[in-house]
């Protein structure tokens, strides 16, 4: 049962990832990306990690994709059709880069010995996650959390600066 669900999710992720980069229309591409992210959220839910799954849904599906769609609607006049034919040199460069990436990924996956998963069945308590996020001890994430909030603050200020068209 679990295996079947996993294969379905994996197939969805793979198919829509490919479609995301091959489609000609930019808004369709964003929609396919949405399905890829749903698939990833599905895998999190299958691992019983409902917090990460819900975060994935809110941040990516509810936030990032909506932002993409909004910016596509606001910038490109017809919201359609990505740039036409690529020049040959760019095509070649892209092929080399993707080939190198693929070789690297396959090399690492094949050489890495995956440790036997110490998977604890059942949901993780919300309190555990909260303390891990905001604790200052080892394996707790207070510093990255604060660093990201400073980064976001900088983004907000930057956004306001750009939006305000005064000297």
């Amino acid at each position: 049962m679990e295996i079947v669900v996993f294969y379905i999710l994996a197939a969805v992720i793979v198919v829509f990832s490919v479609l995301t980069v091959t489609t000609q229309r930019i808004l369709r591409s964003a929609t396919y990306l949405l399905f890829v992210l749903f698939g990833t959220a599905g895998i999190y839910f299958q691992l019983n990690y409902s917090f990460l799954g819900a975060v994935q849904l809110t941040i990516y599906a509810g936030g990032i994709i909506v932002l993409y769609v909004f910016s596509i609607l606001l910038t490109s006049p017809d919201g359609d059709k990505i740039a036409t034919k690529l020049p040959k040199s760019k095509l070649f460069a892209g092929l080399v880069a993707s080939l190198a990436g693929a070789v690297l990924c396959i090399f690492i996956t094949l050489n890495h010995t995956f440790p036997v998963s110490r998977f604890v069945p059942g949901e993780i308590d919300m309190k555990t996650i909260g303390f891990a996020l905001l604790g200052t001890e080892k394996y707790q994430y207070m510093l990255p959390f604060e660093a990201i909030s400073v980064l976001l603050l900088a983004c907000i200020i930057g956004g306001i600066m750009i939006a305000r068209k005064r000297g």
Binding site: M1, R25, L27, R28, T31, L34, S50, F51, A54, V55, L57, T58, A61, G62, G63, I65, V66, V69, F70, L73, G79, D80, E123, D125, M126
Partner: protein, 358 residues
């Protein structure tokens, strides 16, 4: 009080008695899905009828009264009409996205619907991040609306979708913060646990001032979130014909219609669960006879009764207030509700830390 888990356990045992475990679980999935969809459709039909009647009474009319006694079968007839109508294909649209959009909207709404705890022992999805999960899923609907508006290839639809997106994204903040206020108070995000914590008093009484402010803000933001009047600019019929679903016909329009009503039910149901004790009966300390009578009422009636009351209030908003302008709408959210909400959350933290609640 009757516990519905008796029924579900009985069904579970029955299926397991003649099926292997995997197949039994699969059958249960399908059964639950069917029950959910039937419940979804029936609630939508009832809500459409109620909305038409309430609207009629507010405008000193009679409303539907021809089909069946008091026009009760009117919305069923409408549904059959909608199901048999042709799905018109429109030229020069992105057909794939155009047909996909209503499904995204309705799936988001069905999943959020299935998280509500309807009665004692009748919870379908009960994650320990339940409240957060409901918000996450309901935010998926925005994508569907934006896609519908863009792929219709129509100015009115596009403007409606943009307004709707801007509105839902801003009011999501208020909803999130007011839910967070209650989570600060109750210490858990699991919806069944939130209801269980209200056995000795609903949060709106236990959390007094901050809970009450959060409740008011939740109702306002929830009304805006479901694109209902006075916040119905995305489909302002006098300006935009019908907003983002102008071009849709037949059952695809029906999906938007159903999702709109059910989103109202979900907002009211979440408000019931978070503030008014879910399916918990009203208890007053010391009045034992009164409490016993209240306990005799089944939990499912408590839930639907409270939700129905809130739905009536939301409809009341729609038929009494005039529509806001877009700048008024955004001012209300960003300049009033959001600061009040942040201060209110701080107040709730003080109440919890100094143990000032009942």
């Amino acid at each position: 009080m009757f516990d519905f888990s008796v029924v579900t356990h009985w069904v579970d045992q029955l299926l397991r008695s003649f099926l292997p475990e995997g197949w039994a679980i699969l059958t249960e999935f399908i059964l639950i899905g069917l029950c959910l969809l039937v419940g979804y459709a029936v609630i939508a039909l009832v809500l459409i009828y109620v909305e038409r009647k309430v609207c009629a009474f507010f405008q000193c009319r009679l409303g539907p009264n021809r089909v069946g006694p008091y026009g009760l079968i009117q919305s069923v007839a409408d549904m059959i009409k909608m199901l048999t109508k042709e799905l018109i294909t429109i030229n020069h649209v992105d057909k794939f996205l155009f047909n996909l959009a209503p499904y995204i909207v309705i799936i988001a709404s069905v999943i959020a619907f299935s998280c509500l705890p309807f009665a004692k022992g009748l919870e379908i999805i009960d994650f320990n991040v339940g409240a957060f999960f409901v918000m996450a899923v309901s935010s998926m609907g925005i994508v569907g609306i934006l896609l519908a508006g863009w792929s219709s290839n129509n100015k009115y639809s596009l403007i409606g979708a943009m307004r709707s997106g801007a509105q839902m994204i801003s009011y999501e903040l208020s909803i999130g913060l007011s839910i967070l206020t209650i989570i600060v108070f109750t210490d858990t995000m699991q919806l069944s646990q939130i209801v269980a914590n209200q056995a000795d008093g609903w949060f709106i009484f236990k959390g007094h001032i901050p809970a009450f402010i959060a409740f008011i803000i939740y109702l306002i933001a929830g009304t805006a979130e479901t694109n209902r009047g006075p916040f119905d600019l995305p489909e302002a019929d006098s300006e935009l014909t019908a907003g983002y679903h102008t071009e849709y016909s037949g059952m695809h329009f029906g999906f938007f219609y159903l999702a709109e009503y059910l989103n109202m039910f979900i907002v009211a149901g979440m408000a019931t669960t978070l503030f008014l004790g879910g399916w918990m009966p009203l208890h007053i300390g010391g009045w034992n006879g009164f409490n016993a009578i209240m306990d005799a009422i089944p939990s499912i009636i408590w839930f639907f009764g409270k939700t129905g009351g809130l739905i009536f209030i939301i409809m009341w908003f729609k038929w009494t207030f005039p529509r806001l302008r877009i700048d008024q709408l955004l001012t209300l959210e960003w300049k009033y509700l959001l600061p009040i909400n942040l201060v209110n959350m701080f107040l709730m933290v003080i109440v919890v830390v100094f143990d000032l609640h009942f």
